[in-house]
Symmetry: C2
Subunit: 595 residues, 2 copies
């Protein structure tokens, strides 16, 4: 026991001392600290003389995993729905385009290099997809460009990338376990993931900020920290039990806690803990790096680094221009995104953990990350002169086309009354979507519980299997009723608006009112029928026989008639609680963006 503690302290001492030395040197050379950690890891690692300095690699690896959790948790803390909505279209288009292009490029490079293992190529694609928040923030800080417009666009793209990256990790875990990719698998994985994220966020945002406000009242740093750590690790554990990655859990619980009023206090407490463990993580990344592998694989490393830079600059610049930004801003944004970092390490270690990628992949990724990290600040600085040169040599007709596209795009945006209506419709659609997600989650959860626990438990009480099913299915339907009714009411409102807009008096004349009424009555009925059929399919395993089903539905319709008001009230209470949490004023919003 005592010896293993000393070994462990020795490892920590070596890591921290070497890390401190190297980061000071890197700071003086104006390079990101992260790169310093990786170099420190290489220096003390098993592949470089004079000796192997780390003794208890097992414990260090476990602490490095804590580093990943805290890194993703911090990213989650910086996530915010409001920020996401603000950057909107540009971020979404650029991020999606970039990720698709980079996965494709990575996969093609893997095939072109003749890698035997197909999964190596797929993982390489995913590894190249996501840029590094840490390194971009550091570079923009150093260049004092954090408050320019292109920087805000970059932060937006990074947020979208984080979410898509989380999806990628979930997908790749599935692929790694099953060993193959199919279109329907991807669709199923993404829908299940989205469903889980929506429900977790809804429930989380209803409960967690209230809990933290309660703890916050004690004004004790210690209690708040312990509670936040409990939430973080506890949620990670839950997510692992549902067979998702811990990284996903850390990000989601971070995003939930980001809605608490105590956010800035929590960030201050978590920062040192994150810094300590993320240093261990990055040093551990360096520990895995064998310089000989880097020399052996020099060609692929250079090719991939070139592909990252060129691919990301092109895809992000084009993405930003499609979203209607001018050429200069787009190019600066693209140049800023041209590197890979922490997400790539996480995806690469995922491949290693599942033992589906070859050993050489990890050192290649670390080397590419190091190279592209070094080039990032130079590229950002080169963006402005480059934009001018390009503008000078662009043929006039091409420039004219770009301008025309921008004007056309601007005209596309709905304006005046139309804009107001369009926003209302968007809002209603989001609300319907969220309510339906909750309903679906309740039915899926109920089917899962019934199959695993409930059936046996109920079997002692009710003999007939059909009666059991009726009871379970009916209870599930009642539980989901507040959300179902809300979705139905929203849909009715939407139908009325659509009827008003689509049926013009000039066409239908004096029948206008009747036609509108028919549309606004029929659409919701169609919606209800479709929903019930869908839910029945979803809960096939707990669906009772037809006769019992009709009985259940009839009794529930009766219940709805009697308690309609009560269901509406429950839902509106939940909704108010949710809005209260999301809409609180945040005086530090500005500063927050700067992180």
């Amino acid at each position: 026991m005592h010896d293993s503690v000393i070994t462990f302290i020795q490892d920590l001492a070596v890591i921290m001392i070497v890390a401190a030395f190297v980061t000071v040197i890197f700071h003086r050379l104006k390079q990101p600290v992260v790169l310093g950690y990786i170099v420190a890891g290489v220096l003390i690692g098993p592949h470089t003389p004079p000796f192997e300095l780390i003794r208890d690699e097992h414990t260090i690896r476990i602490l490095a995993e804590l580093g990943v959790i805290f890194l993703m948790f911090s990213l989650g803390l910086e996530f915010s729905f409001r920020k996401l909505l603000r950057v909107g279209a540009t971020a979404l288009i650029a991020a999606v385009l970039e990720i698709i292009v980079m996965i494709w490029i990575g996969y093609q490079i893997g095939l072109w290099l003749g890698w035997n293992n197909n999964l190596d190529a797929l993982f390489l694609g995913a590894i190249l997809a996501i840029s590094s928040t840490t390194i971009i923030v550091k570079a923009l800080n150093d260049l004092k460009m954090k408050h320019e417009r292109f920087a805000h666009l970059i932060f937006g793209v990074l947020i979208v990338e984080d979410i898509l990256g989380i999806g990628l990790i979930a997908l790749l875990s599935g692929v790694a376990i099953s060993g193959s990719v199919s279109g329907s698998d991807v669709f199923l994985t993404i829908s299940k993931l989205s469903l889980f994220m929506i429900v977790a966020m809804l429930v989380g945002i209803l409960l967690v900020p209230r809990l933290l406000a309660y703890i916050g009242k004690f004004r004790s740093n210690e209690m708040l920290l312990i509670t936040v750590l409990g939430l973080c690790f506890g949620f990670c554990l839950l997510v692992v039990k549902l067979e998702y990655s811990m990284v996903l859990g850390a990000f989601i619980i971070g995003a939930i806690i980001a809605e608490a009023r105590e956010l800035h206090w929590i960030e201050r407490l978590i920062e040192p803990v994150r810094d300590m463990f993320s240093a261990i993580f990055f040093v551990a990344v360096g520990l895995l790096l064998d310089p000989r592998v880097m020399i052996e694989y020099a060609t692929p490393i250079l090719v991939i680094a070139g592909a990252v830079i060129i691919g990301k600059v092109f895809s992000c610049t084009i993405g930003a221009m499609i979203a209607g930004n001018d050429g200069r801003t787009s190019l600066r944004m693209g140049m800023g995104m041209s590197q890979i970092g922490e997400f790539s390490f996480i995806i690469a270690s995922l491949g290693m953990a599942y033992k589906v990628t070859s050993d050489f992949l990890y050192p290649i990724v670390v080397a590419v990350s190091a190279i592209t990290t070094l080039t990032t600040p130079y590229l950002i600085r080169a963006a402005d002169p480059l934009a001018k040169s390009i503008a000078r040599i662009t043929p006039r007709p091409l420039a004219r086309i770009v301008d025309l596209y921008g004007e056309w795009l601007n005209n596309l945006h709905p304006q005046g009354t139309n804009a107001v209506i369009w926003n209302m419709i968007k809002r209603i659609l989001v609300q319907i979507g969220i309510n339906m997600a909750v309903v679906i989650a309740i039915f899926l959860g109920s089917a899962y519980l019934a199959l695993n626990l409930g059936n046996e438990f109920l079997a002692d009480w009710i003999d007939d299997i059909d009666w059991r099913k009726s009871l379970i299915w009916g209870t599930t339907l009642i539980l989901s009723l507040p959300f179902l009714i809300a979705a139905f009411r929203k849909f009715k409102a939407l139908s009325m608006m659509l009827a008003e807009m689509s049926v013009r008096e000039s066409v239908t004349g004096r029948h206008t009112q009747q036609v509108r009424r028919i549309i606004s009555e029929i659409l919701p009925l169609l919606f209800l029928t479709g929903t019930m059929l869908f839910l029945s399919a979803l809960s096939a395993s707990i669906l009772p026989k037809r006769e019992s089903l009709i009985l259940v539905i009839v009794s529930i319709i009766a219940i709805v008639f009697v308690l309609r008001r009560w269901f509406v009230r429950i839902h509106s209470r939940l909704q108010i609680a949710l809005y209260e949490t999301l809409d609180h004023e945040d005086p530090n919003e500005k500063q927050e963006t700067g992180h």
Copy 2:
């Protein structure tokens, strides 16, 4: 690999969630959070149903050790020479009396309970000796008494206790390894420890605050934290290699860093890390607690808890009164000190680690700590009424004696010119002591190096063993010359002052000047001779033969004559550097005391 990470995260999640719950409950019940952690540990521990929740106890134990290191490091950060000097006599007398009384009481109880293992009784004594900073600060905070006079005295006693406790730990480690205690062992251990602490502090205070000021200029939380962690773990490792306890290292490096200007910044960064790991430590303490053992040993637990309360209240109160405080303040101070805590756990786990104590000792200590923690706030509140009752029933003659003692003590304090001279003499004595400590450390270190490395290395160059010894001994003497000369000069100044004061003109008449001069010349020569004899004895293993020795000494005397000024300059530069670090203004001094 992946599974062990999940196991680890699960353990952390369980610890943090249960700890958060229990601490909230304890906070509502107005009990210290620390007690909540211990109860949380018992709940999730292996001895209480429903199931054993901690899977990877090995890793959790290692993290708990980190908790101990961070706890002691934080105590070190709060240590300060200025604070120590300010509380002075009361703290010293009360702490020494308390520790001696409590060790004796603990040992006697152990014998009385008929414990077979003598070391159990000795460890029990040490365990009962030191009160708990954490719990006292919490109780005084809750009672809003932190700024009263008795509270400041308590903080002083706690600082002295920490130092003596560190000494106790070093002693017990020695006893545990050798299995016995002897007077000369104790003396040797204490002198070696004091020497090590003085030299480590001197060198540390010369180097570390400069390093931290350099790192601080980068204004990066992350770099400062990593550097501090590197210093902390690195120094702990060094101390372990010298066969002292890591706890000692953490405290000393904390006390060194406390002299940096960046102290408050560092405290802010270390606090969350310490809170996280110390929570794990206290929960791990609870994990070891078997409630059945507590029932089985109910009698010793109650006896020991009673002894802690009565023994500490008496010894501290009497100690404070001996130092000249009034009865009410003394009693309040004594009542405040009446519990055991983190130091006791550390000493108890030391006994377990060395396998020299019985298994039942640890749970007994935890139970006694829990009981005395619960009684502390009530005792503090009861102190005032009790003091009044005692004052009422005290016989008049006894009260008069106490008053007279206070007056007599006050008259003892030197006043006016005498006080100034007395302070000067104290200062010179301290400086001589420090310089001599450095000289001794250089000689000891040199002898150690020569025996382990230097002799063989030099053997290739110089054949004759006597020449080698002469070279090593001579170099050692030259290295220690700046400090030796400084000590000599201070001693000369002291001799002159003593001559001035002791030889009065009324006695010696016109021979006054001569007598004074003889005294002030002879004393330093005696000092020099004594020192050289002592150093020769100390470095017996590297001392050359008499002829060579005379040659070496003569040549060094020649060197001193030529380079005398240069040696003085080196020393004064070192001294100025030290004073600069120690004397910087601290605007937050007041607030700091409150911690």
